[in-house]
C-alpha cells in the first residue's frame, strides 16, 4: 500500500500539472475572449493589454523549424554512419561521446548561442539583430542531434541483420542497403525520433530565452527577435507579474497550450512506434 501511494505521486503530478494549468487558464479565458487570444497582437504590459498568442506560436514554430532543419539531416546521417558504416569499435567510442552532448545543460547552449554563434552569424549576415531566431534555432538543432541520432540508431540497429544480408547478397553497396532496406524497415522508429525531437524543440526554454529575445511582433523574419511560448513564460515570471492579474493567468493559458502541443507530439510518437512495431 505504501508503494502504491508513492507510485501514484507521478500520476498526481500529471494531474496537478493539468489541474493548475486548466484552472488558471480558465480564469484567463474568463477575461480574454478567444478572438483576442488567437490574434497577432501581444502586449501584456501596456495600459490596454492585449493577449494574442499567435506571435508566440510563430516564434515557437520558427525556432523549432530551424532546429529540425539542423537536427534531422545531421542526426539521421550520423545514425546511419554509427549503425551501418562504423566499425563496432568506432561506434562504441562515438556514441557515448555524442550522448555527452545531450547531457550539457541547456543554459550552457543558450550562452553559447548568444555569445558565440550570434556574433559569427552577424559577420555573415550583417542585418542580423543581436537577438534573433536563427542562432538559437541552429544551436537548439545541435543540441537535439544526439537525440535524433541515438533514437534513430536504436531503430536501425534493431533491423534484423538477415535483412541486410539479403540485400548484400544481391550485390548492394552499404549505401544502398542503408537507404533501401534499413531505413524503410526502421522508418517508424526514425519518424518517432523526429516527432520527439520536435516535442523537445517546442518545449526548449533557456536557449530561446537568452538568444532570441522578447520581441512580441508578429514577423516571419528570422534575423529578428521573436518570442517563443516558453520564453514568454520565463520572461513573465521572472519579471513582476502580480498574482491575480490577467497577465499572470496568461502564463497558464500559454503553458496549457505548450503542454497540449508537446503531449500531442508524444502521443503521435507513441502511436507511430506502436502501430508499426514488429512488422518483421
Amino acid at each position: 500500500m505504501f508503494f502504491f501511494i508513492t507510485a501514484s505521486v507521478s500520476v498526481i503530478t500529471t494531474m496537478g500539472i493539468i489541474f493548475t494549468l486548466v484552472a488558471d487558464a480558465y480564469k484567463f479565458f474568463l477575461e480574454v475572449p478567444l478572438s483576442e487570444f488567437f490574434s497577432t497582437k501581444l502586449s501584456p504590459l501596456s495600459a490596454d493589454p492585449s493577449f494574442g498568442i499567435l506571435p508566440l506560436i510563430n516564434g515557437t514554430l520558427f525556432t523549432t523549424l530551424i532546429a529540425m532543419l539542423v537536427a534531422v539531416p545531421i542526426g539521421l546521417t550520423a545514425a546511419m554512419y554509427l549503425s551501418e558504416f562504423a566499425t563496432e569499435r568506432t561506434r562504441r567510442i562515438l556514441k557515448p561521446m555524442m550522448e555527452l552532448l545531450a547531457g550539457i545543460p541547456t543554459i550552457v547552449y543558450g550562452f553559447f548561442a548568444y555569445s558565440f554563434v550570434t556574433p559569427i552569424l552577424m559577420k555573415v549576415i550583417p542585418s542580423l539583430e543581436p537577438k534573433n531566431v536563427l542562432s538559437p534555432g541552429i544551436v537548439m538543432g545541435i543540441m537535439i542531434i544526439p537525440m535524433v541520432a541515438s533514437l534513430s540508431e536504436d531503430a536501425m540497429n534493431s533491423v534484423p541483420s538477415a535483412m541486410r544480408e539479403g540485400a548484400y547478397g544481391l550485390g548492394a553497396t552499404k549505401l544502398e542497403v542503408t537507404f533501401k532496406v534499413v531505413v524503410p524497415a526502421a522508418i517508424s522508429g526514425i519518424m518517432a525520433s523526429f516527432v520527439l525531437a520536435i516535442s523537445r524543440a517546442i518545449g526548449e526554454t533557456m536557449i530561446v530565452a537568452i538568444a532570441s529575445g522578447s520581441s512580441k511582433n508578429f514577423t516571419f523574419d528570422i534575423t529578428h527577435s521573436m518570442q517563443t511560448m516558453t520564453a514568454y513564460i520565463v520572461e513573465f515570471t521572472s519579471g513582476d507579474a502580480a498574482s491575480g492579474t490577467t497577465g499572470y493567468y496568461s502564463l497558464y493559458a500559454v503553458g496549457l497550450l505548450l503542454f497540449a502541443f508537446t503531449m500531442i507530439m508524444n502521443l503521435i510518437a507513441q502511436h507511430i512506434s506502436h502501430k508499426y512495431k514488429e512488422e518483421y
Partner: protein
C-alpha cells in the same frame, strides 16, 4: 522416409515435364541485368562519399562540443580563483563570487536527492514487484513516460502554483528542490525499474525458497543487487537537476541575492540561474559574460565529476550472471 521417397519419384516425373517448359521460356528472356563496370564504380564511389559525409555528420556534433568547451574555457578560466568560488555576489564584476550560488545548488540537492531516491525507488519497486500486470500498472507506466517529456518550464508553473503560492513556500530552496524533484522523478523511476528488472529470477527464488517473505526478499536480495543501477540512474537524474534553469526562473527567484542562504526556507540563487542572469545582463556589463563563462566551467566540472562517478559505479559493480 518412405513417404519422402514416393514424393521424390513423383517429383522427378513432374520436374522433367516442367524442365522442357522452362527451357523454352529461357530462350525468350534476354539478359537484362548487365554488369556495367562504370556503373559499379559509380555506385562504389557514391558509397565511399556517403561514408565520408556521414562520418562528418557524426563528427560535427563532437566538433561543436569541442568548440563550445574551448570557447567557454578560454573565456572563463581566467576568472576562476578562490575569491570567485568563495566570494559573495556583487554588482561589480571584479568582486563577484558564486559562493551563494554554490550553496544554493547544494541546498537544492539536499532536497532533490532524498525525495527522488525515496519516491523513485519506491515507485519502481511497486511497479516491478507489487503491481499486478494490468490497467493500473500500464497507466502509471504510460504516465511516467509522458511526464518525462513534459517541458521543464511547465514544471516551473506547477511549482509556482503548488509549492510557491499554495503551500506558501515562495521562491525558497525547498520550493525549488521539490519542483526539481518532480521533474527528474521519471528518470529515477525508469532507471530503477530497469535495475530491478535485471535482478535474476533465481536469486529471488532462492530467497523465497528459504522462506523469506516478499519484503525481506526485496530488502535483502533485490535492492542490494539493483543498487548500482539505481545509483547510476540517480546520479544522472541529479546531474539533470543541477543544470535545470527554467523551472527555477519560473518560480520567480529574484535577480540579485547578496545573502547566502542559511536555511531551506531562504531565497536563493543557483549556478544555472546565475549563468542566466549574467548572460542576460552582458548588454549592460560586458564582463558579466566572463563571469557566466566561469560559472559554466564550475557547473560543467561538477557534471563531469558526477558522470564519471556514474560510469565508475556502473563499471565497478557490473555483475554478470
Amino acid at each position: 522416409m518412405q513417404q519422402a521417397e514416393v514424393d521424390m519419384q513423383t517429383r522427378d516425373m513432374k520436374s522433367k515435364e516442367d524442365k522442357s517448359m522452362e527451357n523454352n521460356k529461357k530462350g525468350h528472356v534476354e539478359k537484362y541485368v548487365q554488369i556495367d563496370s562504370n556503373r559499379t564504380k559509380r555506385r562504389i564511389l557514391l558509397n565511399v562519399l556517403a561514408e565520408r559525409l556521414f562520418s562528418l555528420s557524426t563528427l560535427f556534433a563532437l566538433i561543436v562540443l569541442g568548440i563550445l568547451l574551448y570557447r567557454v574555457g578560454e573565456q572563463g578560466i581566467g576568472w576562476i580563483n578562490l575569491h570567485f568560488l568563495t566570494g559573495r555576489l556583487s554588482i561589480n564584476p571584479d568582486k563577484a563570487g558564486i559562493y551563494g550560488a554554490i550553496i544554493g545548488t547544494v541546498g537544492l540537492m539536499v532536497i532533490v536527492i532524498p525525495v527522488t531516491l525515496g519516491l523513485g525507488v519506491a515507485t519502481a519497486i511497486y511497479l516491478e514487484e507489487y503491481a499486478t500486470k494490468g490497467k493500473i500498472q500500464a497507466f502509471i507506466k504510460v504516465n511516467i513516460s509522458n511526464l518525462a517529456s513534459v517541458p521543464s518550464v511547465i514544471f516551473g508553473l506547477l511549482g509556482l502554483t503548488v509549492f510557491g503560492r499554495l503551500l506558501n513556500l515562495g521562491s525558497s530552496i525547498l520550493a525549488g528542490g521539490l519542483t526539481l524533484s518532480l521533474l527528474v522523478l521519471p528518470i529515477v523511476v525508469v532507471s530503477s525499474q530497469e535495475a530491478i528488472k535485471a535482478v535474476p529470477g533465481f536469486l529471488k527464488e532462492a530467497s523465497y525458497g528459504m522462506g523469506a517473505d516478499k519484503w525481506t526478499t526485496i530488502r535483502k536480495v533485490v535492492l542490494p543487487v539493483a543498487l548500482p543501477g539505481i545509483l547510476t540512474g540517480a546520479i544522472l537524474a541529479i546531474s539533470r537537476a543541477i543544470g535545470e534553469t527554467a523551472p527555477l526562473v519560473v518560480l520567480g527567484i529574484p535577480t540579485l541575492i547578496l545573502k547566502v542562504p542559511t536555511s531551506l526556507m531562504d531565497d536563493f540563487t543557483a549556478l544555472p540561474i546565475q549563468i542566466y542572469y549574467w548572460t542576460l545582463d552582458t548588454v549592460l556589463t560586458p564582463e558579466y559574460a566572463n563571469l557566466a563563462a566561469a560559472t559554466i566551467i564550475v557547473l560543467l566540472v561538477v557534471l563531469f565529476l558526477l558522470n564519471a562517478l556514474a560510469i565508475f559505479i556502473r563499471n565497478k559493480y557490473q555483475r554478470s550472471y
